[in-house]
Amino acid sequence: VTPKHQNNNTMKYSTLPWRALACACALTLAASHARASTLIDTQAPAGGLTNSPTVDTSSWLAERFTLAQATTVSSISAFLLSSDEGNDIGKSLTLAVYADTSRGAETSIPDLDWFADQQGQLFQTGLTFNGNGWSSASNLNWSLASGKYWFALETDGSGVSGLQVPTGTPQFADKVAFYSGGTGYSTNGMSPSSDTFGLRVSAVPEPTSIPLALAGMSVMALLLRRRQA
């Protein structure tokens, strides 16, 4: 075997698995794209710091959305700004989900209770402020049936002092509420058209994306088999 021949063989044998890998990657990417199931995306809010609601130990915010079908939440992002960004980076908040078990006509206080009681709260996760913009929490695996849910930004006294949630999102929650001590969240003085904050919620892979991934794996297996033959 001459070196030249060896090189040709190398090219011949090497292109086969890499082609397969490319196909598999393409299909996997397609599957990934299909699974990037965005449940809620308010887009980045247009508002700035001024006139934006506060999130600190005394001011929590929540907004209500409807999930049309059962799903499993994989990640949540909130759009946050700080008037003291350099000193607030790294500070933590809590992102919680509450069931909407409304009290009849839902007057001033939704059925949200602050997390110290854990009443009505389904899930919660830590959220670290990464700087002005979107801050995310992932790997959540929260199973939610179809229905209405409150997504709440809360803090626990860890020192977050100047975080704001700018408003002006193009898509709105159907209700917004805040908590500032007392008996629970309140919708008093809040308007979904002006107090909605930026939120993104994504789901884990949907069943419909699995066949795509299987297809990618099948192509790879087929090509490897041809190579062995």
């Binding site: 090497s14 600190d56 005394s58 003085g189």
Partner: protein, 429 residues
Amino acid sequence: MITFRSANRAIAPLFLALTAVAAALPSAAQAQTTDAVVLSFSTVGDSRQDPAKVDSTQKPMSQQDYQWLQNSKAWSRLMREISAKKPSMLFFNGDMIMGYGNADVSTVSTANVAGVVNSDLVRYYTQSAFWRGMVAPLIEAGTYVIPVAGNHEVQCRSGAVTTGTGIVASITSTNSFTGNWAANITCKDANGNAATGKLGMKTNEDAWRANFGDLIIDSARLNAVLPAGQSVSHINAGSTIAATEGLSTDQTQLSYSFDVGNNHFAVVNTDPAGADGTAPATWLQNDFTLAKSRGAAHFFVFGHKPAYTYMYPGATLGGLDASNIAKRDAFWNVIEGYSAVYFCGHEHIFNMRQPVKANGSVSSAWQVLVGSGGSPFDLAGPIPAGSTDRTYAFANVKVYQSGKVQIDAYGFSDTYGATKLLQSVTLPQ
């Protein structure tokens, strides 16, 4: 196998190089430069309630607020919001009580219990005690409260006050929530003669010291809540003010000053007996000169009445500009000369601006009006969208290591919605 190894050999260096580059790139968080906050404080004023003018959004009043004359709901929430900012100090710019009587023993009738507890003197003490009780948790949570005298604490408002059913308008009122009451308050001038109108009285100045003097200034308690490396010093209790300003009464603990690090804080009484509606400009000038000589870099002044009345729709002059323009200008010249910030109340409204002076120029100094601590709003609703004229608001000030000073004003609307950042100003270093 050979082929995969060859490919891996080709990719591995590239992968390693990319990894190294990625590791070397700073993250968004690391890229931020931090400028530590070395001191922070908050300020607000005017929490007293006035059943005769209770805001439409506060009805129906609770028996508690009717009896103790506080807007408990708004003031309590403001204190929670303030505490969340974790300031070391809260300057309360006056009108913490309804007051407006003559806190003198001559108002006490010992014929029965009502004659004692409804006297101007006892009302001053009980209303003050209620307010002190409200702010006590704030102090215990690490925010030292520094009181500023307002017209309701030091002035007496003379004359008959007639109110309707369920309404009480003065310090000398019944406790009944449903009774009619007509009060007749007698104020006296410096010579002891009956006087009309609103005027500062020595009796009320004495009552001020008796009820709030322990906070002015308790160095040990204040030092206990200041950040590491900061301490209070150079306390000027204001004992020389009567002489420098030509006043007839002792102004000790009514106007006073102190340092925290290179920050100088001055509190002024804007309604001293015999000189209502004025600030002690000469004393302040002397005080600032001394502070500057010892290295003070930031000057913050707190008083009750604004130097420049905020003219909201329908407003009339009610600040220092309503009394003596020359003295107001002398006071403001000191503020401007030291690039100070003047925080005040009196008008029940929020407004933060650089005032336009008499010559038409915009002042280089800021006046931060936060008389928005719960007292009935001066401007009746509704207001145009985006207006903050009916906002329960406070200001939070942060002094940074670099010398930068940032003033953030927060508040919530008269419908008690979410707390919002109303305005933010960074002062030049």
